[in-house]
């Protein structure tokens, strides 16, 4: 990344057509990113579009001889801030999507009109404010031996008070976030044993659902499984079939056999029938 940045910075300094190219590539992309953010239905998509905008802006900063700022933009903004956004989105609900229907009457077009008004006013106010070619930051940067050093001189020199204040701000922000996001536990946290226990108490013992055909001669979907005492496990048949009552009747001799196997009087052997090809019910003695 830094190599690209250095190259871009160099290119920007060397020839203005490089700067023009960079501009005419990055600017539309950033606008596109902003538009994408506004119109995306899913919140996560909006976050990604924002990231696009921000990276393009970082490149533009570098082109404008502010490499430090460009890097800070990538690291802090795109990196930290957008990741924070994504984390919160995950907590709130990743698949939360806005419906496109506007509930407040007139909001949409009024928003567009007024914002366009602001934009036009801004452009009218400052659109032509820079007269003449840009002075460029070469001299300033060179005076202190580089952009970072020059910025450092400014920040710890002239703007040291603002610097201290913003650091206090950061600390308070962190504290604030901790306090706001903190969840007071009024009851001790349940352990897994307790959770499982409560589940069983409420719903009763429940193992995994029986697959159709277990303990039965047939493994068709509509053949219900048999429980060890010979009764039908109605839940082993899919719900709609249960509702329709489309159950294949149980084989009576097979049933007796199962009971004998269960009581230990007999041993199960695989019958040679076309239906049971492939599947072995030979579970051995139970």
């Amino acid at each position: 990344m830094s190599v690209v940045a250095a190259a871009a910075a160099q290119a920007a300094q060397d020839s203005s057509w490089a700067q023009t190219v960079i501009f005419w590539v990055c600017a539309p992309l950033s606008v596109l990113g902003a538009l994408g953010m506004v119109v995306s239905r899913k919140a996560v998509h909006s976050a990604l579009w924002v990231a696009v905008t921000m990276i393009n802006l970082a490149i533009l900063y570098v082109a404008l001889q502010a490499p430090f700022l460009g890097m800070v933009q990538v690291i802090v903004y795109t990196g930290a801030v957008m990741m924070l956004f994504l984390f919160v989105l995950m907590i709130v609900g990743v698949d939360s999507s806005d419906s496109l229907v506007e509930t407040i009457k007139g909001q949409r077009w009024l928003a567009i009109v007024l914002s366009l008004g602001v934009g036009v006013a801004l452009i009218a106010a400052e659109g032509n404010s820079i007269v003449g070619p840009a002075v460029g930051l070469d001299a300033v940067n060179a005076a202190d031996g580089g952009n970072v050093q020059a910025l450092a001189r400014l920040m710890f020199g002239r703007y040291v008070l603002a610097f201290e204040v913003t650091s206090a701000l950061l600390i308070s922000a962190a504290l604030g976030a901790m306090i706001l996001a903190h969840r007071e536990l009024h009851t001790p946290r349940s352990t897994q044993a307790e959770l499982s226990d409560s589940r069983f108490r409420l719903e009763g013992p429940k193992g995994p659902r029986l697959v159709p055909g277990v303990y039965a001669r047939h493994n068709a979907v509509d053949t219900p499984a048999l429980l060890p005492d010979g009764s039908i496990a109605i839940d082993s048949v899919p719900g709609p079939m249960q509702a329709r009552g489309a159950l294949r009747p149980v084989d009576e001799p097979a049933l007796d056999e199962v009971v004998e196997v269960f009581e230990g009087h007999a041993v199960l052997t695989a019958p040679v029938t076309p239906e049971s090809s492939g599947d072995s019910d030979g579970e051995g003695e139970n």
């Binding site: 009024l110 928003a111 007024l114 008004g117 602001v118």
Partner: protein, 633 residues
């Protein structure tokens, strides 16, 4: 118009404040003291009222001792309202006019206080009654002693309040409560006139003191003066129960009889006349206003008389009589300088004889277990002798038989009216005839004829505490006219205040007197023929002339008020309530519902979806960048 110098009160005259303070103190003690003062409250009230009379009499005597130009005093108590140019001091103005009123109010008032001790002896709320009486006396004195219109208004409102409290004294009685409310509301309409007048005065003259108004009225423009006069006339109508604001007076008879005697005969209802006479400077300058005054007086004169002819309730008949007599006074005041003094003269004599008549009626009521229907009286003259004699004194006075008092005062008015205005003159003459008729009817129905009462009345003479005031008033009714013309001239007494113009009737003074007396005799004769010779039916006959039917319902006064004011007013309130409920509430609730509805709609943005929220965020970003771009461009 005053031709005298106003002096600051000193010596005896500085006791003027006691005139208001003493009865006010009495009212405060009785009303605030509550039940603790029940035992001696009535006596205390009589003491306060009598002391006010004593002070007034002393001031009067001192005033008599001064020459005519030096009888005006102002006692400044304190400055009440000082707001820029609007300055209202509390100052008591003593001059001949106000002291006349003071003497009338305190003298008649004190007598009625004494009378009430007996009349209200069985009433558990007697103390409250005396408290209100004192309050009334204090307010009335404030009214006549004020030196500016706003302070007068305070007294004006005070007497209105006292009238309300006293008419509705037996507040548990629905009729009394409604009557009190009606009196207050109708008075309020008149009070609006006074408020407007005060406002016009302030705007025109910059001050509302009598002196400023009298001085400034010469320079004011004539429409302003006319409007002032009309506004003051409206106020006077309200207080003096003249048309169109007369409807409350008849309902006011729901109050105890001493109230009717004091307030609705002698004093409060004369406040309107006082106001007009006090504002003589204004009325002198406005013929239109004076004509309106004459018109109002004329109509009320006849109205009251006609109503008095048909009412069977003795107090309501006397109320009609009051309205009519005040009509005389108002008419006289409307005649200008020729009549002002006679209006006051009639006012004083009327105070005596009407109070006497009312107290007599009260005495009859007292003996007849408060039955007021004259058709149930009859033949009382043997059983209530003192009452009968005093009542007859008042009766002779009111119809103007010489030498009783109203012969002098009413004749002066007739003479002045005939001189100036044929209508007014004719009305006064006819009024005299009708007065004779209804008063004779009243006397016959009450004291003569057969005894028509059934049931358990035992008519008896009233106790001395009630009959002595009646006797004093009867003496006053008999001699006051003679005294005020021949012993001391009321004309020369009051002339410096109001001005006087001698009236020379075209048909001669003596002939006029003869015509008046002839009309009186005809009235008496008709009444005697109708009621004396025939039997008075115990139940009012229904087959009567339309005029009688109308007179029985106060000449449709109440019906008119109801149709013109009350029903539209009710309708207006209903419209306003409807408007308030549907439109204003509808708008408010509607906006709330609107917002609620809008929110209900917009709430649907909250779908709860993160993506729609994100969408709106993006939309916002778009918008922001676009705006930034536009700004930069």
């Amino acid at each position: 118009m005053t031709t005298e110098v106003v002096q600051a009160a000193s010596g005896v005259f500085s006791l003027a404040w006691l005139l208001v303070a003493l009865p006010l103190f009495g009212a405060a003690v009785l009303l605030l003291g509550g039940r603790r003062t029940n035992a001696w409250g009535h006596l205390f009230a009589v003491l306060m009222s009598a002391s006010a009379f004593v002070v007034g009499f002393i001031i009067f005597l001192s005033m008599l001792g001064k020459p005519a130009e030096e009888r005006t005093y102002d006692q400044h108590i304190y400055d009440w309202i000082i707001v820029g140019k609007f300055q209202i001091p509390v100052t008591f103005h003593l001059d001949q006019l106000s002291i006349t009123f003071v003497l009338l109010i305190t003298f008649v008032g004190s007598l009625i206080h004494i009378y009430s001790i007996g009349y209200m002896a069985h009433d558990p709320d007697r103390r409250r009654f005396f408290g209100y009486l004192n309050l009334f006396v204090a307010s009335m004195l404030l009214l006549v002693l004020a030196n500016n219109y706003l302070l007068l208004y305070v007294g004006w409102e005070g007497v209105g309040l006292a009238s309300y409290l006293l008419i509705g004294f037996w507040y548990a009685r629905p009729a009394a409560a409604v009557a009190a409310k009606k009196a207050f509301v109708v008075n309020r309409v008149g009070d609006m006139g006074l408020s407007i007048a005060i406002m016009i005065m302030f705007v025109t003259f910059g001050s509302v003191t009598f002196g400023a108004v009298d001085a400034g009225v010469g320079q004011a423009d004539s429409t302003t003066v006319t409007w002032l006069g009309l506004a003051l006339l409206l106020a006077a109508c309200g207080k003096s129960a003249q048309v169109p604001l007369q409807s409350w007076l008849f309902d006011a008879m729901e109050g105890p009889t001493p109230v009717s005697a004091l307030i609705h005969a002698a004093t409060m209802v004369t406040a309107g006349v006082y106001l007009i006479v006090r504002s003589s400077a204004i009325f002198d300058l406005s013929t239109t206003a004076r004509n309106f005054v004459i018109g109002v007086g004329l109509v009320s004169l006849l109205f009251g008389a006609i109503i008095g002819c048909a009412r069977d309730d003795i107090k309501k008949a006397l109320a009609g009589s009051t309205m009519s007599q005040i009509g005389y006074m108002v008419l006289a005041a409307g005649l200008g300088p020729a009549g002002y003094i006679f209006a006051i003269f009639q006012l004083v004599t009327h105070g005596f004889f009407k109070a006497d008549l009312f107290l007599g009626a009260g005495s009859v009521l007292h003996g007849m277990k408060d039955r007021q229907d004259m058709r149930r009286y009859g033949a009382l003259r043997a059983l209530m002798v003192i009452t009968f004699v005093t009542f007859i004194a008042g009766y002779l006075a009111i119809i103007g038989v010489p030498p009783f008092s109203a012969f002098y005062s009413k004749d002066d008015i007739v003479r002045a009216a005939v001189t100036q205005n044929w209508f007014a003159g004719a009305a006064t003459l006819i009024g005299a005839g009708i007065t004779a008729f209804y008063m004779t009817r009243m006397v016959i129905m009450t004291f003569y004829g057969k005894a028509r009462w059934e049931g358990d009345e035992h008519p008896h003479e009233s106790p001395f505490v009630m009959t002595i005031p009646m006797m004093v008033l009867a003496i006053g009714a008999a001699v006051s006219g003679f005294a005020l013309v021949n012993i001391g001239s009321i004309v020369s007494w009051l002339e410096p205040v109001t001005g006087f113009v001698e009236s020379d009737p075209p048909i001669g003074d003596a002939l006029l007197k003869v015509i008046t007396l002839a009309l009186v005799a005809i009235g008496v004769g008709i009444a005697v023929a109708q009621y004396g010779r025939r039997e008075v039916p115990a139940v009012a006959p229904t087959a009567v002339s339309p005029l009688t039917k109308a007179a029985r319902v106060d000449l449709y006064g109440d019906a008119f008020n109801e149709a013109v004011f009350m029903r539209p007013g009710q309708y207006l309130t209903r419209v306003l309530v409807f408007f308030d409920n549907k439109i204003i509430d509808g708008a408010v609730n509607g906006s709330a519902a609107l917002i609620g509805g809008l929110s209900g709609r917009w709430r649907r943005w909250q779908t709860g979806y993160v993506r729609t929220y994100a969408l709106s965020m993006v939309g916002g970003v778009c918008l922001v960048i676009a705006v930034l771009l536009l700004v930069r461009l």
